[in-house]
């Protein structure tokens, strides 16, 4: 909820508080309301912390990937250097342009790089679902069966059926 009219808790500071710092020490929660300047002076950057964590992680993974995927995304022109600085992809195509890097990064963040949720059926499935995508799904299904991961295999089979049905409509 808004704290628009709350003043900074620091002594002699009348600025409007925009950072709420809560610390849990020995199971005791205490909250301080600080303006941005006082928060930074105390070495606290809660508004930036989650962003920074992502940027740091991206930077680490990009550096670890070496020169495997240099260059720029064909669609938006984003480079791995841009990616390191912002922690953001430039466009959907970046995930394909930097596929190895994306896969590695997603594994680090989510513990997985394979989507098992709902499969999107676009307005124009024929144009959207390429033969290569179907072949990829088929290959993953085979791998799942080989690994006797039947739960995963069932999900992949449903995905293939869903896409097949969408294409034939």
């Amino acid at each position: 909820m808004s704290q628009a009219d709350r003043s900074c808790d620091s002594a002699d500071c009348g600025n409007r508080a925009s950072v709420h710092l809560t610390q849990v020490v020995d199971n005791q929660a205490s909250t301080q309301y600080l303006c941005k300047t006082c928060a930074e002076a105390k070495g606290v950057g809660p508004l930036l912390a989650p962003e920074k964590a992502v940027v740091d992680l991206v930077s680490h993974v990009v550096d670890g990937a070496g020169r495997q995927e240099g260059g720029a995304c064909d669609f938006c022109g984003q480079t791995t250097v841009d990616f390191k600085e912002s922690g953001r992809m430039g466009c959907p195509e970046c995930y394909t342009s930097f596929e190895t890097l994306s896969r590695r990064l997603l594994r680090r963040i989510h513990g997985s790089s394979e989507h098992v949720g709902k499969v999107y059926v676009p307005p124009d499935p024929e144009g959207f679902v390429s033969g290569r995508q179907m072949a990829d799904l088929g290959r993953r299904l085979e791998r799942a069966i080989e690994a006797e991961d039947f739960e995963r295999a069932a999900v992949l089979r449903d995905q293939i059926r869903g896409l097949d049905a969408a294409r034939s409509r």
């Binding site: 909820m1 709350r6 809560t22 963040i109 989510h110 949720g117 709902k118 799904l137």
Partner: protein, 366 residues
């Protein structure tokens, strides 16, 4: 002050407190991050591209694929005051309305909303579309079902960015896959009083849930209100994520109820806290919002335990929303000074506690 046609009763459905465990879980939100195929993400879009994205959504407002009565509010076309109202109702983010005070919102930033439904979508935020459903109580399954319907409707008209391995593609890789973030706003005073809160929050972290302040990412908590949400979005199905989230939050609710009983049986300390909070709210002449949050925490606890017979939980929810700065300005019909606002806030709360119907009467102006 606000154009009532523009903002009206948007985003207020959860206040009714008619969901499961609504005394402890104020609201549940399920959010889906979606992007349009063939467009750059927000960090690389220019003004023209953002406008084209928004125009694409505007063309769907009367489409049969979406529920009827949709309204698209362009942030550029709204007064700063109206944008703050939407912010206080948690319908838009700071990023959508402009994070710095006085900054104008970016071109193409908009809110797609329905006056009669708890679903909405931010357009041109970090992702092209941020769909959300905000409901009362611990109702993750219901919220997911409603937002999924909106997702299917939008996705049947607008080609979304989707990768066969990575799922829905998002500007930040932390949202890729399902793009699903479920969050619950929970009130945990007894876990704080019994000093169990640190252990519980650490346990949640191990179970894949993170905690934040009421205002979401980057904010912190006040008045014993915490926002819990899932950390990862890829590698599990939407149903699995929702089920795990609901089960985990439910276990926190149980722990909070157990802690309340322990405190209630341990002497008059908790009853004293409840009655002191009630007394202060009933008689204070000046109130900061932070003070209000902390005192409402005590009163909410009292109502939940039956120590206080009134007001209803729904009235307490309304106070949390309508005693915020922009809502007080709205009720006064002008921009109040900080001191005036503290005074109006105290007056509003006294009236609401004197007559539980008052909280809804005062905000009827909206």
């Amino acid at each position: 002050m606000t154009d009532p046609e523009a903002v009206g009763g948007l985003g207020l459905r959860w206040l009714e407190a008619d969901g499961p465990d609504a005394d402890i879980v104020l609201s549940t939100r399920v959010r889906l991050a979606r992007n349009l195929q063939g467009h750059r993400f927000a960090s690389r879009t220019d003004m023209d591209e953002r406008r084209r994205i928004c125009d694409g959504v505007a063309r769907l407002v009367d489409s049969s694929s979406l529920p009827g009565g949709a309204r698209l509010l362009a942030m550029e076309g709204l007064e700063a005051h109206s944008r703050r109202i939407l912010l206080e109702r948690r319908l838009v983010s700071h990023d959508l309305v402009g994070r710095v005070d006085g900054a104008e919102p970016a071109a193409g930033a908009a809110l797609l909303a329905w006056p009669d439904a708890p679903v909405s979508a931010m357009v041109n935020e970090e992702d092209h579309l941020r769909l959300q459903c905000l409901v009362s109580g611990l109702s993750a399954v219901d919220a997911w079902s409603l937002v999924d319907r909106l997702d299917v409707g939008l996705g049947s008209e607008l080609p979304l960015a989707f990768h066969h391995d990575f799922g829905y593609l998002t500007s930040c890789p932390t949202n890729a896959g399902t793009g699903l973030r479920a969050s619950a706003l929970v009130h945990l005073p007894a876990l704080v009083l019994t000093k169990e809160i640190g252990r519980v929050l650490e346990g949640l972290d191990r179970l894949g849930l993170t905690h934040r302040g009421v205002e979401g990412e980057g904010s912190r908590f006040t008045g014993n209100f915490f926002q819990l949400s899932n950390q990862t979005t890829l590698g599990r199905s939407e149903e699995d994520l929702i089920e795990h989230f609901g089960r985990t939050v439910d276990s926190v609710v149980e722990k909070e109820r157990e802690a309340r009983q322990v405190l209630l049986n341990a002497g008059p300390r908790m009853e004293d806290l409840i009655w002191r909070a009630y007394g202060l709210l009933r008689h204070a002449r000046l109130l900061d919002y932070r003070d209000l949050s902390e005192l409402l925490s005590g009163v909410r606890l009292g109502v939940s335990l039956g120590v206080l017979k009134a007001p209803a939980i729904g009235s307490l929810n309304r106070m949390m929303v309508f005693a915020q700065a922009a809502h007080l300005d709205e009720a006064a019909g002008r921009a109040l000074s900080a001191e005036e606002r503290r005074c109006h806030r105290a007056e509003y709360v006294r009236a609401a506690l004197r007559d539980p119907g008052e909280a809804s009467t005062s905000d009827a102006a909206l």
